[in-house]
Subunit: 202 residues, 2 copies
């Protein structure tokens, strides 16, 4: 398999954590990319018209995206349990993946607003709206993460990637003080090799 | 079941099309919402911290989101085939759902930029980047939609919602001329009651 890769992308990281947990990482060749919402990577766009990473090529050449699809594909391939079979757990994990992905989408939009958009065109209400989503999302996880701690499913993989991205791109945002239970869970889960080996970098 | 609903939301529409196709629509009570990225709906946010529609409550009270999760849940409940069992078809349908959802995400960002953001803070390069994603995505579907025409799976449901949203919010954007095969497919699929009955409105 091959994957359009960026070491800074939290959505690529979801895929690489699942791959490493299932022993599949060595089977995935990393292809470089330079995806951006305003300067599109035409090489990536040839396989994925959205021009986004991650995009995975299966061994038979099928292009799969986005991270949710790739993670489910890797889970099936590696016979994992990141997508639980039990119905109640499955819908919980999938919804928590949506929430963590939504936290990431908000964080990315806040970053594009404040690091990419010309300074004179920035809109404070937009950033506030995105940061509110992040806070509400972390508030939810603060109330439930203690009961999720022993499993590492697609919801908690996505949460780990969201928290790692906040640390990476918003180093001044202290999310740990208001959400100490999430912080303790993240400290513990960060010791897993799949998480430690995929820390984001520029 | 209950769903936080907006008649303008293309992601709500995905769920309602699947529900109607599977005979489940009458079992879903529609709850009003006023979701917006800058003025969040706190009633919705109590169930879904992202404050986004659609959010579905199952009959046992579990809150599910986003549209991908809700559509898969309804498909399981109604024993549908919107998520094909055959592996190759499944990954194709899921990836095409990602693409159509990505077209919608781009269209929504372009709309927020040009209808919600104060005029003096708009960034033309941002809108161009989003519209490029839409065009590349439609270009992909132009090459494959003839072979998808006889099935209505989650990928083509999402495509129908994306095209309906372009007509609804970008009435001056003539996507039919460059993508005539997609236009012919959309004209045909729009005759299905599930599509005709869920046309977007303000």
């Amino acid at each position: 398999m091959k994957i359009y890769f960026s070491p800074a992308s939290p959505f690529v990281r979801k895929c690489m954590i699942v791959a490493q947990e299932l022993g599949l990482a060595s089977q995935i060749e990393k292809l470089p990319s330079a995806a951006s919402p305003v300067v599109r990577d035409q090489t990536v766009a040839a396989a994925n018209p959205l021009g986004k990473v991650p995009t995975l090529f299966t061994d038979n050449g099928q292009a799969l995206y986005d991270s949710r699809v790739i993670c489910e594909y890797l889970n099936d391939l590696g016979k994992g349990n990141f997508f639980p079979k039990d119905a109640a757990l499955k819908w919980q994990a999938l919804t928590e993946q949506s929430l963590a992905d939504g936290i990431l989408d908000a964080a990315l939009l806040a970053r594009y607003e404040n690091a990419m958009r010309p300074q004179e065109l920035r809109w404070a209400a937009w950033t506030t709206g995105q940061m509110d989503k992040i806070k509400s999302g972390l508030g939810y996880f603060e109330t439930v993460i203690d009961t999720r701690g022993k499993t590492f499913d697609i919801g908690t993989v996505a949460l780990a990637c969201a928290l790692g991205y906040l640390d990476f791109r918003f180093p001044d945002y202290d999310w740990r003080s208001p959400y100490p239970t999430v912080a303790a869970w993240f400290a513990e889960i960060s010791r897993r090799p799949s998480v430690a080996d995929t820390l984001p970098s520029v």
